[in-house]
């Protein structure tokens, strides 16, 4: 009977077992792992860092005709005017009674904290902030001041008022060259 020789690459025939040469199946994976980790780093950084955050802003309704306006107590109110060249002017209470003070954005945080404490001690109430961005302010200034309110932990909603900037406020800002 004829037989088929299925063994491959048999060198020696006859006598002894036919052994095929075993090549190692191991591959060096170091380069592959390097590449994979590089890509992981890239995707991790691009997915988490590019996610923008939202700052919620609420403004008063313009067409609100109701006469019931909440009166703000002068001793409780701090008004911040945003001017140009990244400057702010702030005063406590009613306009014109106390002269505003000019500050930069680095200093306003300490001021807000100090005033918050003072109002708490004298009246026992929370401070109410009125933010008045003028025409000289940039969008960044507005975002910055809202951010400062969050950092200083002011819970009461700030009044954002860009309609009623008083003449006395405008005059002062013009004098100081920040409008």
């Amino acid at each position: 009977m004829a037989e088929l020789d299925t063994s491959s690459g048999g060198g020696k025939k006859g006598g002894g077992k036919v052994r095929s040469k075993k090549a190692s199946t191991r591959v060096d994976l170091t380069a592959m792992v390097d590449l994979a980790f590089l890509l992981i780093t890239f995707f991790m950084l691009t997915t988490t860092l590019s996610k923008p955050t939202a700052m919620d802003i609420a403004k008063p309704d313009k067409d609100d005709k109701s006469e019931e306006k909440l009166e703000l107590r002068a001793s409780q109110t701090m008004t911040v005017l945003l001017g140009k060249n990244n400057k702010v002017a702030w005063y406590m209470g009613e306009a014109g009674k106390t002269p505003p003070e000019i500050q930069s954005f680095d200093q306003i945080r300490a001021t807000i904290l100090a005033n918050k404490k003072k109002v708490r001690e004298t009246t026992g109430k929370d401070i109410v902030m009125v933010i008045k961005p003028t025409t000289g302010a940039s969008y960044k200034n507005f975002v910055d001041i809202m951010d400062e309110l969050l950092i200083t932990g002011i819970k009461t909603a700030p009044a954002i008022d860009d309609e009623n900037i008083l003449d006395s406020e405008k005059d002062f800002m013009k004098q100081q060259g920040i409008l």
């Binding site: 923008p52 919620d56 975002v143």
Partner: protein
């Protein structure tokens, strides 16, 4: 004396398991990442310490930069429906093909009269031709207001959800330019909106 022989060990380690793990992670990150549409209007968003993330759907984003306004809504269904409503209002009919092409456009800033031409172009041409002059938002020709209103209607119809409006402004933009857009929103009784900021580093 016979020297003590130090057995030489191979320095190569089995990398198979490490390779498996790293590719698993890689696959995860690739799948979870969403391709970012290039912004036609390049804006530098101011930073803040706010932690709330911008929602992914039922949102309209108004990009303000160098005096121009660009508009974007999320979701192809909303985009197509908004375009249809705008077409009805301005007596311009869009073919289904145009609607399909428009539904993948993220942010755009062309007057509606040029929109047909804009849709027909590819993204390179759009950038080169200078057709994107911003959406008119004057009191006489307030297309931006119509876009917002129609997008709100579409979101309400398709998702029965209120649409959120977000403003993505350039940090150097003057406040009055932003105020003009906010006034348009307030005319539609949108008194609550969000400003898009980037997370501040080091916090």
């Amino acid at each position: 004396m016979a020297r003590a022989k130090v057995a030489r060990k191979s320095t190569s380690i089995d990398m198979t398991a490490m390779c498996d793990v790293s590719f698993l992670l890689l696959t995860y990150f690739i799948l979870s990442a969403t391709a970012k549409q290039p912004d036609p209007l390049d804006v530098k968003v101011p930073s803040s310490t706010y932690k709330i993330k911008v929602p992914e759907k039922d949102i309209a984003i108004l990009t303000i930069g160098s005096g121009k306004v660009f508009f974007e809504t999320a979701g192809p269904d909303i985009r197509a429906s908004t375009l249809e409503k705008m077409g009805e209002q301005y007596k311009i009919s869009f073919t289904p093909e145009e609607k399909k092409r428009f539904s993948v456009v993220a942010s755009f800033g062309v007057p509606i009269q040029n929109l047909k031409k804009f849709i027909a172009m590819d993204s390179d041409e759009r950038k080169r031709s200078g057709i994107e002059t911003g959406i008119p938002a004057d009191s006489t020709n307030n297309q931006l207001s119509d876009w917002i209103l129609n997008a709100r209607k579409s979101v309400a119809e398709l998702h029965s959800e209120g649409m959120r409006v977000s403003i993505k402004g350039d940090a150097a933009e003057e406040y009055p330019a932003v105020k003009k857009i906010v006034d348009i929103l307030q005319k539609q009784k949108i008194n609550k909106f969000s400003l898009i900021t980037t997370a501040e580093g080091g916090n």
